[in-house]
């Protein structure tokens, strides 16, 4: 559709409709525009947004840079400053005005190349090529390092020198490429694909020295950027000066500010590692040695504390000897006691023996002996006295005492009866005549009778 068709085929718009069309036409056609001009009428209200007019000799256009973008500005905009802005055109329908909503602003003077760089950068960024999640880790100890660079010049020299002193035992493959010029990007891309195909290298260093933006063209090329992104092997970029970033720098897994720095990133320091390992072993040995020593000490200590039951034995010996002594002592004391006890009994038995009562008995017995002897003698003497008395009486009464006076007694024989009467005799009778002294026998011669009967 063109303007002519619009006019021929008449169609009437309301203001709103027209404005809407304008808006859509403008905004669709100019989603992102680079515009250069001089800042004028710059205002920054408290909202933090920049409001200004971009103008050149013939025209001017109202512009806004919202706070969010303004924050990223590397410089402070001023009236009269020539700037290049990246933004989009926006139509404000209520007032029928249009303006540029600036998102990026830089001082003017940057060429088309820079523009192209920025455009590419923006595109690749949007695609996510720079995203952190795609960054691969650089291996700690690469065996083979592929260096894509110019085989001549200071860059490769610096890299090799640094690798040499940091970690001598490494295989460095130098992939010679042109680092500038029209065929440079192709060579670099080709090197990447060949390295990938070979699949030997552990890390890739893409390097070149510093230079102008034009010199960096191949490192800012989309092809190289995509080749870096595609590489399965981690890539370190080392381009130009420390402040210059290339597309390669953005895509690479690691960006080194200089080639020497890239070499430092690629390998660890051998001596340091060796030292570290030796130190670790030393500490390992030390720790074990300490542990063993500690255990030995612990056991010696335990052994020292382990008391042999000698003291117990000694204590027991003393106690047992005490018991033994007491048992002996007690037994002897006991026996002594028993002996004393029965000795006391013996003493008493002896003291009370019949020997002590015998003298009493003897004395009584002797007394009785005396008594009985004396009594029998008394009895005999009494009888003797009585008998003596009887004899005396008898003697005194003896009829024979008449004979002393001359009388005699005649007894007729044989009857021996005393003759009192002559009549009792007859002559011839024999008589015995008792005289005071002696007897005589006589025969009766005659009888003379008396008068007594």
């Amino acid at each position: 559709m063109n303007l002519v068709q619009h006019t021929t085929k008449r169609r009437i718009h309301t203001v709103s409709q027209l404005t809407a069309v304008i808006k859509s036409v403008l905004e669709d056609a100019l989603p992102f525009v680079w515009v250069t001009g001089e800042i004028s009428n710059l205002k920054m209200p408290t909202s933090g947004h920049y409001y200004f007019t971009l103008k050149d000799n013939q025209a001017q256009i109202r512009s806004v840079m919202f706070k969010g973008h303004a924050r990223n500005l590397k410089f402070v905009p001023e009236d009269g400053m020539n700037v290049v802005c990246l933004g989009r055109v926006a139509v404000y329908e209520p007032q029928g005005t249009y303006q540029v909503l600036v998102e990026h602003m830089e001082p003017a003077g940057v060429g088309a190349l820079a523009l192209a760089f920025e455009q590419l950068k923006a595109r690749l960024a949007q695609e996510g090529l720079f995203n952190a999640e795609h960054k691969k880790e650089i291996p700690f100890l690469p065996r083979i390092i592929a260096v894509i660079t110019s085989p001549t010049g200071a860059v490769i020299h610096d890299i090799l020198r640094v690798l040499g002193y940091r970690f001598p035992n490494v295989h460095v493959q130098v992939w010679p490429v042109r680092v500038q010029g029209a065929d440079s990007p192709d060579q670099i891309v080709s090197a990447f694909s060949q390295i990938s195909a070979q699949n030997q290298a552990d890390v890739i260093i893409l390097a070149r020295g510093g230079g102008s933006l034009e010199d960096m063209a191949s490192f800012n090329s989309e092809a190289v950027g995509r080749a870096i992104f595609a590489s399965e092997i981690p890539v370190i970029s080392a381009v130009g000066h420390e402040t210059d970033y290339t597309i390669a720098d953005y895509v690479a897994d690691r960006r080194a500010p200089t080639p020497s720095a890239a070499a430092e990133i690629a390998v660890p320091e051998y001596e340091g590692l060796e030292l570290l390992l030796t130190e670790q072993v030393s500490r390992l040995k030390g720790a074990l040695s300490l542990l063993i020593q500690k255990e030995r000490d612990r056991f010696l200590n335990l052994k020292k504390r382990l008391p042999p039951p000698r003291r117990q034995v000694d204590d027991w010996r003393l106690r047992l000897d005490d018991y033994n002594g007491r048992v002996n002592h007690l037994l002897f004391r006991y026996l002594q006691g028993k002996r004393t006890e029965i000795s006391t009994h013996l003493y008493k038995v002896n003291r009370l023996s019949p020997l002590h009562i015998i003298p009493n008995h003897k004395a009584i017995l002797e007394l009785r002996y005396g008594q009985i002897r004396s009594l029998i003698r008394q009895a005999v003497a009494a009888n003797q006295a009585a008998l003596k008395q009887a004899r005396a009486s008898l003697d005194a009464l003896n009829p024979a005492s008449i004979l002393e006076r001359g009388y005699s007694i005649a007894r007729k024989i044989p009857g021996m009866e005393i003759v009192r009467k002559a009549s009792n005799l007859s002559a011839g009778d024999e008589v015995e005549i008792t005289l005071a002294s002696g007897k005589v026998a006589a025969v009766i011669k005659s009888i003379e009778k008396g008068n007594k009967s």
Binding site: V380, L394, P399, I402, I409
Partner: protein, 75 residues
């Protein structure tokens, strides 16, 4: 005098005879007999006493053989 009369009965008889004779009215024959009987009794008793004395002495002598002292007739 009864044979085997005890010393006591003999002594009693002797006493009786003495007492009888002391009354003094005995016929001579009786007196003589009594006297004779008295004499016999006396002798009997005398002999008995001698025997007793002798026996006592013997007993004491026997016991003296065994005993230290107690001689007869010292007290």
């Amino acid at each position: 005098m009864k044979k085997n009369a005890t010393f006591e009965s003999a002594a009693k008889d002797l006493e009786q005879i003495v007492s009888d004779m002391e009354k003094g009215d005995l016929p001579l024959e009786t007196a003589l007999a009594k006297f004779e009987e008295g004499m016999k009794l006396y002798e009997y008793c005398s002999k008995k006493l001698d025997e007793v004395e002798k026996k006592v002495t013997l007993i004491l002598q026997d016991s003296q053989g065994n005993l230290k002292e107690a001689p007869f007739g010292t007290d």
